[in-house]
């Protein structure tokens, strides 16, 4: 079979089982778009901005576990995609981004719409390729998918000069079934000796904590984590990225940890004597001040990326390997022995944990007059039976979802944890809804974040994706305002959102349904109304309490044991 470069790409995407490609045409990719036009197997989703394409592909990838695919043109097409590529990179999301490049003979001549895409994306991709011949294109695509989806996943860019996709120039096409790269051989199986050592330490614990992260979701190890944790009956905390990997409604779950984690999870971290870190990377928002991080604990750390181990925190038993495999081996070893943590110790530890829980660190003041943002999230949880796919933007609303929408399944909670990208939520929800057309997809956002990618409302209409947008509108960049209140003596410098659009009219002009909810009594009713509109996108603009803060909180430079609780609940 002889194919042009554009056709090579389409055939390769078919071979990779790609369902959707999110993109935006332009000069350097016109040949590829012409090849797309001729076929129906790979569906193209036309976004309104390249950032939207990357977030949509990212949302698709997070929800399905498959690589998200993006197609953009050279120059501004590529630079617009960079924010979304960096977002995926920080959260280890498998993505393949195909960017057009000027003709190879023009590279370096400052040609029209030329940027050094490889150079610009180098620090925020797992790997990138500049295609140097049409003959090598198919193999490069195979390598890109291989690198993106194996080991610690991540985005891979393929930059393809326009002349290699010229319709008239064809090469024999033979898509490689497998690919071998001598310089890329990710470790898959944990070292048996280390696993045994870890299990010995885990079973000798008196005050154990299981701290698991996004790696468990990415590695599809939720089942193993749940079995492992239940076998041991140890308290489980999840990172922001790990929520849903262990059922949040399970009594063994003590909530999220870190800056806005629960009091009990953070106190447990501080007081534990054995910390079992699984697919987590000791991010600064999780650890707080490193000097006072887990001062009494021996640490086991399981991760597929050796560079994550002992990067921020020195660990005692490192295990490099696939999280599911390592947990599987640990479960076998635990099941094969009668040795268990001392029952009295464990009971004392749980009693201590229940004591911390009695602080009810997530309780908030109810109100009949003004809508409390936390109450909206709890109402959304009720209205969706806790079983929706929920995307979010970045800020207070994101933390409130993490705190007040307990996820019981992995891949349901889709947010930009590492990079913290405002504008992520709506396009991500679009990607998720395309992957699961019959599921309920909710985008929780704020009036600031939503405006960063609001143009994708148009894309949602074109493809009929009935996303439910929950906008917690407090007329502030809430998290910025909160920090200014705490650290800048309430000098609210440029965090007020003045001259807001009428979101109802705006949504309607995009052809969707808009609702504005101002009264606390209307929250549940309007949610039911909105969720009943199965085939419509509904934008729900909740006018919420402007002064509400996210509690509890670990402020900069503080340790897990120095949490700031809601003022009325501050420790005596």
């Amino acid at each position: 079979m002889e194919l042009s470069g554009g056709e090579v790409l389409i055939e390769a995407l078919k071979e990779e089982g790609v369902e959707y490609i999110f993109g935006y045409p332009g000069g350097a990719v016109l040949h590829i778009y012409d090849a797309l036009y001729e076929q129906n197997s790979v569906k193209h989703i036309l976004v309104r901005h390249e950032q939207g394409a990357t977030h949509a592909a990212d949302g698709y990838a997070r929800a399905t576990g498959k690589a998200g695919v993006v197609l953009v043109t050279s120059g501004p097409g590529a630079t617009n995609a960079v924010t979304g590529i960096a977002t995926a990179f920080m959260d280890s999301i498998p993505m393949v981004i195909i960017s057009g490049q000027v003709q190879s003979r023009f590279i370096g001549s400052d040609a029209f719409q030329e940027v050094d895409c490889i150079g610009i994306t180098r620090p925020c991709v797992k790997h990138n390729f500049l295609v140097d011949s049409l003959e090598s294109f198919a193999e490069t695509i195979k390598k890109a998918f291989h690198v993106a989806t194996t080991g610690r996943p991540g985005p891979v860019v393929i930059d393809i000069p326009k002349d290699f996709t010229t319709p008239g120039i064809k090469v024999p096409f033979d898509y490689p079934k497998t690919v071998e790269m001598r310089s890329y051989t990710p470790a898959l199986e944990g070292h048996p000796g280390q696993i045994r050592k870890a299990v010995d330490l885990i079973l000798s614990a008196r005050r154990p904590m299981i701290y698991s992260g996004g790696g468990v979701v990415l590695g599809d190890a939720s089942e193993q984590l749940t079995k492992f944790s239940r076998l041991l009956n140890y308290p489980v905390t999840n990172t922001l990225m790990g929520l849903g990997a262990f059922p949040s409604t399970d009594p063994q779950f003590v909530g999220m940890l870190g800056m806005h984690g629960t009091y009990e999870a953070n106190m447990g971290m501080h007081d534990c004597d054995v910390l079992i870190a699984i697919g987590a990377r000791f991010d600064d928002r999780v650890t707080g001040e490193l000097e006072s991080f887990c001062p009494h604990a021996k640490i086991v750390h399981v991760d597929i990326d050796p560079a994550s181990i002992s990067k921020n925190v020195k660990v005692d038993v490192p295990i490099v390997g696939n999280v599911a495999q390592v947990l599987g081996e640990m479960i076998k070893l635990i099941e094969a022995t009668d040795k268990r943590a001392d029952e009295d110790d464990l009971n004392d530890w749980w009693a201590q944990m229940r004591g911390w829980q009695s602080k009810e660190c997530l309780s908030y003041d109810q109100s009949d007059e003004v809508i409390k943002p936390q109450a909206v999230i709890e109402a959304v949880w009720r209205a969706t039976n806790g079983d929706a796919y929920v995307t979010s933007d970045v800020g207070q609303h994101q933390m409130w979802v993490a705190q007040y929408y307990p996820f019981d399944k992995p891949r349901r909670w889709i947010n930009s944890g590492g990079l913290g990208t405002m504008g992520f939520g709506l396009p991500a929800a679009l990607g998720v809804q395309l992957a699961f057309p019959d599921e309920t997809v909710v985008c929780v956002t704020g009036e600031a974040s939503i405006q960063m990618c609001i143009q994708e409302l148009s894309t949602c209409l074109q493809y009929g994706t009935p996303v439910k947008i929950i906008c917690l509108n407090n007329r502030y960049m809430g998290m910025v305002r909160q920090w200014q209140e705490f650290s800048y003596e309430k000098r609210y410098s440029h965090s007020y959102m003045d001259a807001l659009p009428d979101f109802v009219k705006l949504t309607e002009s995009y052809g969707h349904v808009g609702m504005r909810i101002e009264n606390p009594a209307d929250v549940d009713k309007s949610l039911q109304e909105a969720f009943a509109m199965k085939d419509r996108l509904v934008f729900m603009d909740f006018v919420t309490d402007q002064t509400e803060n996210v509690y509890p909180m670990i402020e900069a430079g503080k340790g897990h044991h120095e949490m700031r609780l809601k003022p009325s609940r501050e420790l005596a």
């Binding site: 180098r122 620090p123 500049l130 001598r182 310089s183 050796p306």
Partner: protein
């Protein structure tokens, strides 16, 4: 502490910039960096001289290994190794100084490659200490131009860094 890290990587365009970019992006120190293709033309070998705490060096090695184009690497400082650098130095050489510079060059086992009425170009090979000692001996006032290649290194014994 000073470390000499030898890296074998795919001899592809852009591979070197990934290594250099890693050091600048993560704030690691590069004292010197040399690179050239090996006898196997598909591979380049880089020698990086860097410094940092044990933890930083561990991260440097892990992060380098994580680069998709890095095939293998070794920290030469952890084993018995030979380190060599070449320096070309142009020095002022007039009147009685001409004889003095020549004598120093002999003592350090350097070679004079070029001579004019007022200057010499000298080639010297050695490790970092020897080269620094030679520059100190020549004295800063006489140095017209100094070109150092940066260190290269190889392990002693039969064990080799190869694919």
């Amino acid at each position: 502490m000073r470390h000499v890290i030898a890296v074998l990587l795919e001899n592809e365009s852009g591979a070197l910039s990934r290594v250099a970019g890693l050091f600048s992006a993560r704030g690691y120190n590069i004292e010197s960096l040399t690179v050239a293709p090996t006898n196997d033309p598909t591979l380049s070998r880089i020698t990086i001289v860097t410094s940092g705490t044990e933890r930083v060096i561990e991260q440097i090695i892990k992060q380098l290994n994580k680069l998709v184009e890095v095939v293998r690497l070794t920290d030469l400082s952890e084993i018995s190794c030979i380190e060599r650098e070449i320096m070309l130095v142009k020095v002022r050489a007039v009147e009685s100084g001409r004889e003095e510079v020549k004598r120093l060059t002999d003592i350090f086992r350097g070679r004079i490659l070029d001579v004019t009425d007022t200057s010499y170009v000298i080639e010297l090979t050695g490790d970092d200490q020897k080269i620094t000692a030679f520059l100190d001996a020549l004295g800063p006032d006489n140095l017209l131009e100094v070109v150092r290649s940066g260190a290269t290194g190889i392990a002693r014994g039969e064990k080799a860094l190869k694919v």
